[in-house]
Symmetry: C2
Subunit: 344 residues, 2 copies
């Protein structure tokens, strides 16, 4: 540009073909110039891009390799050229409390043009400004929601998909990637996609109880909606035999009434009846409750679909809190305690 007697300050926009939307070098240029990137879907190559973006150009553009430099006689409105690169952030709200939501997620929610999600979570994620478009669905069709969000972003919008907890743990992260993987549309693949982590439900429940996840653990979903029940039984058996602390997601529902009871039978083969179990219900929400019960006394009726169940390992320890309840933790050591260990 210097050679042409032009200042970088005079650049109105970087214009690129949609199929190149994700190329890092284009973003480097736009970022270093601090100017907007605009995408065109029906033009490829520098001459065609200039023609489509600025059809009434007085001067021929300078073309050097894959880059064209077009000089307009009048100021250019970048927003009138093509569209912006769409953004999709898959955001985790955490268990519910605002004080547990990462600032990154809060900022993405505040800046989004469109918010897509299951109604309950969208309500938790608000309030939103009047010009933000809410797409709240009342069903659990995760893949439909994911596709809807991707198509909005592919149209140049800035979109957030809302998950509770961590979107990467039994939540919308996998659904969005599955939907993207299943599409051949370059506009979908060209968006700026970010997964923003959050605190998952088991972490909230564990924190309230003490530190039951302080050593090797697993998180298993007991839902057999999308996996065979035999796989769940096999995983339970291995995890119990490995003496891992276990957190159960989706432990029970009206449509899955017997599965938790069967899961507990499997676990009880390997774990003593006095093993502490943490039941965290709605942790991080106003109706939060926490119970600690011995494995031998736990009944499926103690659990509902809003409960996270954490089953201790052979080393998970319980001791009284001064307020009459109990602390639960899994020590840092296994087998023989180190000479300096704190608990018995």
């Amino acid at each position: 540009m210097g050679a042409r007697g032009l200042s970088p300050l005079g650049v109105a926009a970087i214009v690129a073909a949609e199929r190149d939307a994700a190329r890092p070098e284009i973003h480097d240029v736009a970022e270093s110039l601090g100017r907007p990137l605009r995408l065109l879907s029906n033009a490829n190559g520098p001459a065609a891009l200039v023609q489509a973006a600025m059809p009434n150009l007085a001067e021929q553009p300078f073309i050097a390799g894959p880059v064209a430099l077009a000089v307009a006689q009048l100021p250019v409105d970048a927003a009138a050229i093509g569209r912006a690169r769409g953004k999709l952030a898959v955001v985790g709200l955490g268990p519910g409390a605002a004080e547990w939501m990462a600032p990154e997620a809060r900022q993405a929610l505040d800046n989004a043009q469109d918010i897509v999600g299951y109604e309950t979570y969208v309500r938790m994620a608000g309030p939103f400004a009047g010009d933000q478009v809410i797409h709240a669905s009342d069903n659990r069709e995760e893949l439909d929601r994911a596709r809807h969000a991707l198509s909005l972003a592919a149209g140049g919008r800035s979109v957030v998909v809302v998950s509770s907890g961590d979107p990467g743990i039994f939540a919308m992260g996998a659904a969005v990637l599955e939907a993207l993987h299943g599409s051949a549309d370059p506009a979908w693949h060209g968006i700026e996609l970010t997964v923003m982590p959050g605190i998952s439900a088991a972490q909230g429940a564990a924190a309230r109880a003490g530190a039951p996840l302080g050593h090797d653990f697993c998180i298993l979903s007991l839902s057999d909606n999308l996996k065979p029940w035999e796989v769940i039984e096999k995983r339970l058996d291995h995890a119990a035999a490995a003496d891992l602390v276990m957190a159960f997601y989706n432990p029970i529902s009206r449509a899955r009434p017997w599965q938790l009871g069967r899961a507990l039978e499997i676990v009880r083969v390997h774990r003593a009846p006095r093993t502490p179990v943490v039941l965290g219900r709605d942790v991080g929400r106003p109706a939060e409750s926490l119970r600690v019960v011995p494995l031998g006394e736990l009944k499926p009726d103690d659990v509902d679909m809003r409960t996270v169940v954490i089953i201790g390992s052979s080393t998970t320890t319980i001791f009284p809190r001064a307020d009459g309840t109990a602390w639960v933790y899994t020590p840092r050591w296994y087998g023989a305690p180190p000479p300096d260990a704190g608990g018995s």
Copy 2:
């Protein structure tokens, strides 16, 4: 108080014996009156508490059961009576980036009088105000740090223990509870102890890669400092046989050079060479890097102590990103994909 012609607005302080510091009813009273709770360590029972708190009282206190109401002639300085109830918050910074730290943790750090932690994490948690006392240790003696923090809080201070990630996952949460469990000191048990969850390192690495933890998974530490290596081998074998996605913490160090290689041998018995492995190094920190390699090509030399290793299950899928790197996710389903599945 009404019966005595006194207004609740005139209450200067609620005074209680140290051994009762955690009793919920005392906090209910202090909270509903909006007045400070002060603790005395050397007096028990209402008459003794009044005598210790206000030795020069002109009038006899009203005593009703366990409660005494003492009326002073002059305004009372609550801060001069005994001490406050100490607080200890075990705080998770998340992987490193400020945008991933929960607001609750940030507020606890900002409000603490004392900050206790491993030097690196204390530095990450700052900046701190001039009147905040920093207790940064340069060693890894977790139990010593925990005891130090508990004893500061037991003296009436407001203390934070700093962990990276989630303090409940291979971090200071279990150490603090172990130290508390090992103490018979009622002052230690009387403090207000809170574990504040955070985003753990595996979650940050998973988010950058896509959603490899989108289905059943486990987190295992490969460190045999505090558990026998045979236990680790057994757990690896079960977790691999159960086809769980696995995240490894403490995968390798100078003092533990061969363990990761042995762990990979065990995993390779059960998993195909093309299984995607995510290597997230310093994710959420300035030097962040992310690699995705097939299990068959992974070498222990690709990993150092600041790397989180996430090994996919048989369903974990990889597909190209438009920027030339790869997305990794573990689908929501297992076995036969549902009719509407997105990928492959």
